[in-house]
Symmetry: C2
Subunit: 341 residues, 2 copies
């Protein structure tokens, strides 16, 4: 039994005294203690060493006591496990030296054995669960198949993922083959995570908002729905699509326990577009954490008032930025804990 069950209650749609709070990328570069580890170990060493990944996961909890922890990892461990090389290049970010551009490139892409390739994630979960000592729930995550495809094809981050979209629109069969391989891998991966002890999973569709509503259904949502269908009886699934306001009506009927929304969607719009019954998570603009702490607190209070305290998980609308002052992040968390309707 988890002692602080606010997060799980919100996912179940139960009445709570105040909404739970966590922050996307809460285990990250804005924390001095994270930067100390970062100085010593490179990116994939941090992901692949259970001692480091679990330590990084609990760092923000020690400092801020959020209502949920999220396992430190990266969405690109999936293509890596699928035999697609992924590097982290200074000043560039993710770098895939041999991107997928052609149906022939798919021959080398495998649906891997999860234990063999990603066993280190399961070890990190076990180790984190020990450190958390059933105080709060632990979230596991994966990128959406479309978002993973974006990196696999583009080979790096991009403003508009034009190459990834061109690939889908000119070689749709190859795109769907790749998306299905990623989906199959992701489902197996998330199931293993649930077995290893995570209490909920979140699917990040960071680049879904690059697609038209029609293309979103074809190249992104269809595969997220497969993941939800495969996981929803075993755990809570949170679906987060940045810029995907146009698909919220479909997402609300998917069987997901909650939907993440970004800050371009007002609480009122988010409730309206999702039909008012599903738990929502979000949506503070990460850049608004640069405001003075007392302003942050006022804005958080207003945000909770607008979403309503129930069926709601306080979060940012995307990951916390590396340059946010720690006291500003503290104000964000405190505002939720001090919340009175």
């Amino acid at each position: 039994m988890i002692k602080n069950d606010l997060f799980l209650k919100a996912l179940q749609g139960k009445v709570v005294e105040r909404p739970p709070v966590w922050m996307m990328r809460q285990a990250g570069r804005y924390l001095p203690e994270f930067m100390q580890i970062k100085a010593k170990y490179d990116f994939f060493t941090r992901c692949q060493t259970p001692e480091l990944a679990s330590e990084i996961t609990v760092q923000p909890i020690r400092r801020y006591n959020m209502d949920a922890a999220i396992l430190f990892s990266d969405i690109l461990v999936i293509p890596q496990a699928m035999n697609i090389d992924v590097e982290m290049k200074t000043g560039v970010g993710p770098w895939l030296p041999e991107p997928i551009r052609d149906v022939r490139d798919l021959d080398r892409v495998i649906v891997p054995n999860i234990e063999e390739t990603l066993g280190y994630v399961m070890e990190a979960i076990a180790m984190t669960k020990e450190k958390l000592n059933d105080e709060i729930p632990l979230i596991g995550f994966a990128g959406s198949p479309w978002t993973i495809l974006c990196y696999c094809v583009e080979g790096q981050g991009s403003k508009n993922f034009a190459l990834a979209k061109e690939f889908c629109f000119t070689q749709a069969d190859a795109a769907h083959q790749l998306l299905q391989k990623i989906t199959d891998t992701t489902i197996a991966y998330l199931k293993e995570k649930v077995k290893a002890g995570v209490n909920a999973v979140q699917v990040f569709d960071s680049w879904g908002g690059m697609l038209s509503p029609t293309d979103y259904q074809e190249f992104s949502w269809k595969y997220i729905q497969q993941i939800i269908d495969a996981l929803k009886d075993e755990t809570h699934v949170i679906a987060f699509g940045k810029g995907c306001w146009f698909a919220l009506d479909t997402m609300a009927k998917s069987g997901a326990s909650a939907l993440g929304v970004d800050w371009t969607c007002s609480p009122r719009n988010a409730r309206y577009l999702t039909g008012g019954n599903i738990t929502l998570q979000g949506n503070f603009d990460p850049s608004r954490l640069f405001s003075p702490p007392d302003e942050i607190k006022k804005m958080v209070k207003q945000m909770i008032d607008e979403f309503g305290k129930d069926r709601y998980i306080v979060n940012l609308g995307h990951g916390i930025l590396p340059t946010v002052p720690v006291k500003n992040a503290a104000a964000f968390i405190e505002a939720v804990k001090e919340y009175k309707a």
Copy 2:
């Protein structure tokens, strides 16, 4: 009198036999004839030499016979005229060596005399009008004050313009001073363009969609509204905000003659959010021009059916991509000309 007045009729909300069509960035790198000029003259030479700017403007018209031309220029000629250095760096794009980061940086920012600093644009307009010979209307454009601020503060393009947003959220007074200076300059600039002969102006808010609905009103829309108020009695104003679906209701009441929408907003959503009475422009996904020409034609037909042929200007949802094949751009234009309800 303009011989082909489809575009002007659509802006006036009049019934037309088919909607007019043009493409954002239609004078650009996908055209071999543009690349020939690009090989010989650098970016600002092309903007600042009326012979070149007018030639580039009419290149796509010669090839495709669109229903409107848009003067070749750049949104960053405005900060340049305001005494903020702007360079074009190969592989980087716009590069502002001395970005605005502080209220003291504003001292050197001027509201310039338009004729002295941007007279070359007016000459380019006169020269283009001659070449167009009253066959089709000519559009002039400017960036929105917020979008210009993004570059002035960030110093270059960015995925999330985090520095620009931090500037606004920590130094709001300085941000508003800069936004007002840009607005004043833009109004004077667009008025001169109208005097020089453009038949409509478009304001591009490329980065408005980075802001929450509340921040959008404060840091972007307020200033676009000033521009519309100052221009609407003299010409047609088209307001285009990429990712700004959440503000379409406000924009529809602004006095703009038309609103641009991007491809994440379905025709049905766009009509609904704008109240159904204003002319809309858009919204084909630029990446969908990679589809085979016959597919493009089908999708364009469907798009027109969904928007309706009246109060509608066919366009892309953002600028045409440099790698689009010319025959695909041709299919897009032809589909509109062949349109039958």
